[in-house]
């Protein structure tokens, strides 16, 4: 593993991503990262792994990467808190670890959108859209997903001090949209749709379930209360265009993936990580780890064009399918 540190030839970079249920990892992170690596170092090899949301599987994948001679590991841990053991294993073989997207305390480098910030931004959008009053339902992520706790914490830090009241709160196993729909429906049977003036959904999948529940309970599509999510899924952007969802959090993955590639290639070549990357991010310190922190972006209907479209994250045609053509035109997307 240590032999190729000196030269650029044949360096091996391992990329470990956590799951497949969210589109971003395989549709964006991986290809963007690989393309950038290829760009920077034509004979570098990228080993790719996806842990399917299973910590144990990820530990095996790390071992496997090391067995195959990885020179640097870019690790998006299933569980940032328990990933320290993995970092240790890599360090034991003198392989540096870049914590990608989720924080690991003993990693060499870290880069991410801060999860608590995401939660705060979601909650703030919701509070603003509701005029700081009214009742909301709150759907958090899976209780077995540590990131969910961070989103939840961030969101609560805003909501608890605001004028909105949480009617009911739910930790959704597996982030499942079906569960979100059923839970919301049950709440509507209890509280009456008119009493619900807003919904915090931790991600877009759940937001979709919430919309389905509300419209299913007879709320007209144009009378839906403010609903927030995250991930900037196409389905969510379509809802935003159609006025069914208020906002989503867009994490400009391109910048994240390319920064990671740049840092990884530098480390693989035995160089130090840059103080300022070519993507324009300064190295800073986050809880004692050299870090590159990106700003998540709240996307509302009017911002779609300048964000996801401008970044090339999606084409207008991806979002404005036949069913949404009219809404797109009204929102000025074409």
């Amino acid at each position: 593993a240590n032999d190729s540190k000196s030269g650029s030839d044949g360096a091996t970079i391992a990329l470990l991503l956590p799951e497949t249920k969210t589109t971003r990892y395989e549709a964006h992170d991986r290809p963007l990262f690989e393309a950038k690596v290829k760009d920077l170092c034509s004979d570098c090899k990228v080993l790719y792994f996806n842990a399917d949301q299973d910590e144990k599987k990820q530990a095996q994948q790390l071992t496997s990467a090391l067995d195959q001679g990885a020179d640097v590991v870019v690790l998006d841990p299933v569980n940032g808190k328990t990933a320290a053991g993995m970092v240790d294993e890599a360090k034991g073989q003198d392989v540096p670890v870049v914590a990608y997207d989720r924080f690991i305390e003993n990693a060499d480098y870290y880069m991410s959108f801060d999860n608590e910030t995401v939660g705060k931004m979601q909650a703030q959008s919701l509070v603003d859209a509701m005029g700081d009053k009214g009742n909301i339902l709150m759907l958090n992520g899976a209780p077995s997903d540590p990131n969910a706790a961070q989103f939840k914490k961030g969101a609560h830090s805003v909501l608890d001090g605001s004028g909105v009241k949480i009617l009911a709160e739910y930790d959704n196993p597996d982030w499942s949209p079906d569960n979100a729909q059923q839970w919301t429906t049950d709440q509507l049977n209890k509280y009456d749709a008119g009493k619900v003036q807003g919904v915090y959904a931790a991600n877009d999948g759940q937001a979709g379930g919430v919309v389905a529940a509300l419209t299913g309970a007879g709320v007209a599509a144009d009378k839906l209360p403010p609903i927030v999510g995250q991930d900037a899924e196409i389905a969510a952007l379509q809802r935003i265009v159609a006025g069914e969802q208020t906002m989503t959090i867009y994490k400009p993955i391109k910048i994240e993936a390319e920064t990671a590639a740049e840092v990884a290639v530098a480390l693989a070549k035995g160089d130090d990580a840059p103080a300022k990357t070519t993507t324009g991010i300064d190295q800073s310190d986050f809880e004692g780890v050299a870090s590159y922190i990106f700003t998540p972006i709240a996307v509302t209907a009017d911002k779609i064009k300048d964000t996801v479209i401008a970044d090339g994250f999606y084409e207008v045609s991806d979002i404005c399918t036949a069913d949404y053509a009219k809404a797109c035109a009204e929102a000025g997307l074409s």
Partner: protein, 414 residues
Amino acid sequence: MTATKESVAATDAADERLIRAVSPGDYLRQGWGRIRGGDLGMLPVVLGLVIICAVFYAYEPTFLSSRSLVSMLLYAAPTGIIALGIVVVLLLGEIDLSVGSVSGFCAAVMAVIVVDQGHSLWLGIAAALGVGALIGTAYAVLHVRVGVPSFVFSLAGLLAFEGALLWVLADGSINIPRESGLAQFARNKFLTDAQAYALVAVVVACYLGSRLWTIRRRRAAGLTPPNLLAVLIKAALLGGGLGWLTYYLGIARGWGYLTVLFAALVVVLDLLLRKTRWGRHLFAVGGNEEAARRAGVRVGWTYCSAFVLCSVLAALGGLLAAAQLTSVSQDSGTTDTNLTAIAAAVIGGTSLFGGRGSAYAALLGILVLQSIESGLNLMNVDSDVRYIVTGGVLLLAVTIDSVARRARSSSGRG
């Protein structure tokens, strides 16, 4: 000894060891004896369901509101339909672990064809069900020709079709327009009051008609006919129950088309299982495959039909779940759908070893699971408590059945 009897007994009631019921009092006494002996069919599970409902109701009265019942019945339907397929496969002593993935994959196929590629809804539905049928056929070939155990090939299917779902949905989730016929059917279509009461009347008439016809034929054949009074009482109870339910659901939105579809599938499958040669052969193969084969039953076809039916029902359930949610995502069908569908069948009293079960098992089982879920949703508890209580309530619901069965076996049956 040929004891002189007051009247000539029917052929099937001639044996003197038989404890016969003649007067209504006898029937009551016999019924009570059966209850004491534990021969209760689905009663204990129904009792479990009633207790669950009562507890949740005590805690939160909206649990049994018309609105809440209407939505519970709607949400129970898609997984209930999948559970129907599972019942068929379990009757053979086989299992299908892949129904969840298959349901998600088929729904995704439909969504891609209809939403992404803009083909007609019918083509999408046909394609999805067709894919389901193909999957079932492949399973049948693996089982019948190659002899792979169903646990293994359906586990392989579970993985493979989850992969296929990810592959089909490479661009992420797909929204199904709320105005599309399928979404309307699953979410917004309800029977009018007139339609609903008419349907109830038809159901009761069919029941009564078929029972009266049976009485006539059995009497003509010299066999004990069902007791007329009992038949009339049952018909009245059926009519009253359904009528009241229709009234109560009608306070809210009434019978959803989706609910009616599920109910109709349950009734049809029940008839198929109990009243047709196919159903008979299913039970026979599940009870003793070798005996069925020696009796000339085409065992291979029986397996084939079961696997195909199960996969097609899984596909249908998947379509309806997607329609209900108005979207398909990488998560569709994967989370717990398998376990929920299998659990529903088993909780309703279907044996994992084959040869025992019924279509109503799927109905009852899914109602138990759905009411636990909805009840806990209304209680707003932390997820740790939620898990523990779900486990506990589930156990409770089934324990009643087990205790009853125990009584039955200690009195020498089954």
